[in-house]
Amino acid sequence: DVKVTQSSRYLVKRTGEKVFLECVQDMDHENMFWYRQDPGLGLRLIYFSYDVKMKEKGDIPEGYSVSREKKERFSLILESASTNQTSMYLCASSTATTAYYGYTFGSGTRLTVV
């Protein structure tokens, strides 16, 4: 089975800190995604990547950046954390034929910014 591993299940950070959320997948998937999930808003796409060193903005990229230096790793960066970035963050990956197979998700990182 494909595994998508997010390095932290829970994180607490202070306002203004630079925060790194790490995601690693072990099945050579081309595509990787970062979502945030908030009550009543469902999943919102932050950034995605179709290949190493490639990145595309999703629906809510403001306040975030990403890095994909290796195929298996996709990092989400909060340059200066703010309280409105308190959320559940979900990483996902898929093969190049995204549509057919759907996504595989990690277990999520619940980030609290105080």
Partner: protein, 114 residues
């Protein structure tokens, strides 16, 4: 562009009763359809998917869904729910083309009452 509507944000149901979670989508082209489940404090898992062929698809844990093209619906059903089915359920859609992202609905919270 595609969109997904889940009309019920919360569905309470007694244990061993049947349940239907509704999903409607809009798209001008052919689509693939998915249902994902998210148990508390976990990531999303693929429950089932419709790609083509038979409009009734069966998934894990006794769930099934029926694709209705004329009504642009993909409702999820289970004839008898268990306590362990308490979770958030997301309907999702993507066009039948490569390199196209999956669009998620806002989710339905299923609560099974003992």
């Amino acid at each position: 562009a595609q969109s997904v509507t889940q009309l019920d944000s919360q569905v309470p149901v007694f244990e061993e009763a049947p349940v239907e979670l509704r999903c409607n989508y809009s798209s001008s082209v052919s689509v693939y359809l998915f249902w994902y489940v998210q148990y508390p404090n976990q990531g999303l898992q693929l429950l089932l998917k419709y790609l083509s062929g038979s409009t009734l698809v069966k998934g894990i844990n006794g769930f099934e869904a029926e694709f209705n093209k004329s009504q642009t619906s993909f409702h999820l059903r289970k004839p008898s729910v268990h306590i362990s089915d308490t979770a958030e359920y997301f309907c999702a859609v993507t066009r039948k083309t490569s390199y196209d992202n999956v669009i998620f609905g806002p989710g339905t919270s299923l609560s099974v009452i003992p």
